[in-house]
């Protein structure tokens, strides 16, 4: 059983590490005049509700240009990235966030995948255990439940049928 736990926990660790990494990367707004790049850094994290699946930083529609102008105003007013994101969420709902939040039912989007994966790993482990020979046994011995004659006849017939 030990190897299975190692496998499962290793997968979980990798998962959590990847989950945590970008959270640390979110910085505060830099001082100085607000550049287009500052605006895009925030806009990248948003989707407008109209243009499907185009991130706000590259969306060419008029509505999205206005959203970017709003971001600029807020940045100039000294708002932080999180404050701006929260502002858009209050105005337009959770769907504007590229990265689903962990609030309410949305936590499921983050929880289910590792749970499914862990369950898969567990079932695979159980399957391997049930299939593997007992530790003491000679691993390479031909299993007793294999009737060689039938196997041979079956294969031969199958090959003959296929070729001729």
């Amino acid at each position: 059983m030990r190897k299975g736990f190692v496998l499962v926990s290793a997968l979980l660790v990798v998962w959590l590490a990847a989950r945590a990494a970008p959270a640390a990367a979110q910085g505060a707004t830099p001082p100085g005049p607000v550049t287009d790049d500052d605006v895009n850094r925030v806009a990248k994290l948003l989707y407008c509700p109209v243009c499907e699946n185009i991130p706000l930083d590259v969306c060419p529609t008029q509505a999205c240009i206005q959203w970017r102008a709003t971001i600029r105003e807020k940045l100039e007013a000294g708002w932080t990235e999180q404050q701006i994101l929260d502002y858009f969420v209050t105005q337009y709902g959770e769907r504007v966030l590229a990265r689903p939040s962990t609030r309410g039912i949305n936590i499921l989007v983050w929880i289910i995948p590792p749970v499914v994966l862990a369950a898969g790993a567990f079932f695979l482990w159980r399957y391997l255990k049930s299939m593997a020979p007992a530790k003491s046994g000679a691993a390479l011995a031909v299993p007793a439940n294999e009737p060689p004659t039938d196997e041979y006849t079956r294969r031969l017939e199958q090959e003959l049928k296929r070729r001729f």
Partner: protein
Amino acid sequence: MLANLGYFALVIALAAAVYAAVMAGLAADRHKPAWLASARHAALLTWPLTTLACLALIALLLTDQYQLEYVHSVTSRAMPLYLKVTALWGGQAGSLLFWSWLMSTFTGAALLRKWDRDRAFMPFVIVVMMITLGFFIGLVVFFENPFVRLWQVANGEVVGSMLAPAGGLALLPADGRGLNPLLRHPGMIVHPPMLYIGFVSFVVPYAFAMAALITRRADDEWIRTTRRWTLVGWLFLSLGLIMGGRWAYDVLGWGGYWGWDPVENAAFLPWLTATAFLHSVMIQEKRGMLKKWNMVLIILTYALVIFGTFLTRSGVLSSVHAFAQSAIGPSFFAFIALTFVASMYLLFREWDHLRGERQLDSLLSRETAFLLNNLLFLGIAAVVFWGTVFPMISELATGQTITVGPPFYNQATGPLFAALVFLMGVAPLVAWRQASARQLGRLLRVPFVGALLVVAGLMLAGIRNWGALLGFGISAFVALTTLFEFWRGTRARMRATGEKPLAAFVTLIGRNRRRYGGYTIHLAVVIMTIGIVGSNFFQIETQGQLKPGEQLTLGRYVVTFDGLDEFFTEDGRQVARATVSVYRDGRFISQLHPRRDFYVDSGQPMTIPGVRSTIEDDVYVLLVTWEPLAANGATFKIYVNPLVNWVWAGGGVFILGTLVAAWPDAAEARRRLAAAVAAAPARL
């Protein structure tokens, strides 16, 4: 007239499909060869009929018959000829018709090619394929008919109908609305058909799998019979995905090639399960194990193929409310549910019968490696599926929809992909049945040290991003183990036969196409991984407003704004086209023309990047906004996408590898028979 002919052909095709399915089932039940022959003829008949319907629609598209609703919605007079033809799959009704035609083509090919060889399977292959075909033709005939005409009824509304509604006046629009601007691209010729061919060809192995279950044949005959179908379908699906990425990169103007868009995911999901299937059938063929699991994988792949078509065609993605509005949504849902439940019933009925012929000999074996591969592929598929359907679940549960964007997918699948690529390097070296850890360690030592050297070199070059180092390190490791396998084989051949290196290499591959084709595909995946890691971790971007003559700096590149033209085109676009010069380390390297096309009739803007592409990196310039008189300048967004060309180069190697693996090999067939006979005394 032509429209009536096309529709009539489809109605007969539907009748033929239903007849074929029923007759084939009855023929097997009552042992009537004549009925089976009749069913087969009816199944074959669907091909000329659907071909006729497709040709009729193409003729209507080409001759600007805008009185037809479909023609009106996807073409216009200004569109070039090739787009008018490809408008066949440019809208919902037409693409479902095209799907049906492909399905019918593949059915014909399967029934003509395999008829005598797989007589026992054939009745049920016909049943499964004709039910699938019948479903799609039924959708076209009853819900999404591309042949309906436009009528104006008494209250002024415009409706589409085959027959004149009461008091309806036939409408004859002078021009059509034209194809969605995003689809007006040469990629339209190849990308959708490739995906559809990929989708449809997976129906063939599924049909044989179901036939094997129904006829209670637990051997791997169905897998061997359909191996080439599966590979070819897989190749087309892979190509469709890669080309879709290239198309997005060239015209969508967001600097990337894969956005985890639900429609992309819809095509990626069956690819994931099919790839797992392609690997796991090898265990069944070699070791007689995993019979149930392979059935599960092919059933999942089939369900995901239909689900993928459903997602892209039902409009359910934009909102679950579209599900109720769209007539085909519930039909798709019901069909997926029914076929899935029926397949699972057949599988459980045969559950005990499908026990493995052998036990696992050791936990450290190729079999285990393949199972881990399956776990990872299905894990990725589960993540992608969950992310794709979650917005609908959220909307149903809370009434509020959410976006599951790239950050989710990158985080959730990134580590799984890394593990999968790593496994790809180790697994081919692990022996079947029972591997020795010591020997495996010896084989892996050199590649491992090589990979460490690569990582050290990258760190010396100043790269500190641990994700990228891991990605490149794994890529180097896998490339080395795979190349080492080619080298080991060649060397063994040279020793055994005394051949020269090149001759030994070529015969080695020629004699073991499946294995070395597979390794070539692995190398292709490594090349693509390098491209994906490079372009994901090291993409840089900047944006700024420039007056003519001013410049933007990004990394080693400087982009200067030279000028801007605005003009109208014949096909109804208002184009703003900028000219910029790109300098690298102070030297002029290229002039680019990023544009913004505005489609006046549909009011849709499109951002076409100017790209300077090399094997090292791409400079990708977008025109964001501009002042009308060009006096005050324009805003540009510039990306530098390192190594992105490796993604496309990997695609080329990928095709090569799949062709090597799938190429028919008469010698191999003879050898396998000889081996089966030769191995017999040993087994006895």
